[in-house]
Symmetry: C2
Subunit: 232 residues, 2 copies
């Protein structure tokens, strides 16, 4: 395998570990040497993305740019960011990088097309920050999909608390809450649901295993896009 | 959390992802920002460690030193290597680093003391290369333990094939083989068994969950040593 993948990670650190695992599991490799070499910049002290978007915390951009700079200096061939909310700063990060930066939202939207070619309505579970910035809504709408997302009340009572449970390692508790949030999107017409925050698949492992065709895991979608790129 | 942990990884890539997950799971953190920031150099094209030790492949040392150099240049505070066999080159790597390098064998031996303070006989499952170099045998003997390991025949028919299964993503098959290898060590008096190759815990998840007191997972031991260091 030629060249390193740069991973701008740490948001959160468990999502980065999960991404690296999915990169390995999805690779058609038989020995270590067939996998994609990686350099990971995992600064988990990067300020919370959603807090910045809703105006209650500092911007993560300076730390994100520090990571982009280090990865470019290390000579990586391309960069991916296993954090959906960080893609609210995608344009600035991509402009600061001399190598291509994968887009997790586009990678996830592609997997919707592959998994459910006839779907018309797509549900999105994400952080409140990603939702506010509309990065999934706009990309999916441009592809002709109707998009359903939790209400502001459902973000505050279900999705945001469950994401915080993952970050505090309370995975089992989170699973029940995400199950409820997903079933509400399905009741409103979602034929497939994008897990559009890289913490969410960690909290929905059982449900994903039971019905993989009903979900797109954004971390998995990103890994698949990376593997395609490095195989080319 | 102050300063980055450098991780010299990619040996194999799944063991690195597993280590990062264990670093998160063992941390008493409630939010991303409480975890240990990491920079990972994961060059999975590093030549096979055991092949080099038994004289059938090139040395991994040049690539290992390239990783140590990059991590030092990136300004990390300490370095860990989630690969037991790579510790056969520990002295060279430690000498080339201006920051401390954790020793996975010492970290694992410490966990034996904590988990089974009365144990006298310790089993070690490792790669054949780690076994040949005697890094566990010598460290444990110096601490007063009797050490049991697979026979050369058991390495060739059980342990080495099962490690190759992990590297090829055949986890379930590997589990049965490792179970047999562990039960043979127990029959020869092992009161606790060190999983002294970072791929092995990935292939013994069920057995470890059933009887965690009977095993020391070297990846877990390394994560615990790192967390202690960064909390100090």
């Amino acid at each position: 395998m030629d060249g390193f993948l740069g991973v701008l990670g740490g948001m959160g650190p468990l999502a980065t570990a999960d991404f690296l695992g999915k990169l390995v599991e999805n690779s058609p490799a038989l020995v270590d040497q067939d996998h994609v070499p990686v350099i990971v910049y995992g600064d988990c002290t990067t300020p919370d993305r959603t807090a910045s978007i809703v105006g209650t915390g500092p911007s993560p951009l300076p730390k994100l740019l520090a990571g982009i700079t280090l990865l470019n200096q290390a000579g990586v061939k391309a960069i991916c960011i296993p954090c959906n909310s960080a893609h609210c700063w995608y344009d600035e990060l991509s402009a600061a990088s001399s190598v291509p930066v994968f887009h997790i939202v586009k990678a996830s939207a592609e997997q919707v097309r592959k998994k459910q070619p006839d779907a018309k309505t797509v549900g999105v579970l994400s952080t409140f920050g990603t939702h506010q910035m509309g990065i999934y809504r706009d990309t999916l709408a441009a592809m002709g999909y109707a998009v359903v997302a939790p209400s502001e009340d459902e973000f505050h009572t279900l999705v945001s608390p469950a994401i915080a449970m993952i970050k505090a390692n309370r995975l089992d508790e989170a699973e029940d809450v995400f199950r409820e949030a997903a079933s509400r999107l399905r009741a409103r017409g979602a034929e497939i649901i994008i897990l559009g925050c890289t913490e969410i698949p960690i909290g929905m492992r059982r449900q994903y295993r039971e019905t993989p065709a009903l979900f797109v895991d954004s971390n998995d979608a990103l890994a698949l896009a990376v593997i395609d790129f490095f195989a080319a």
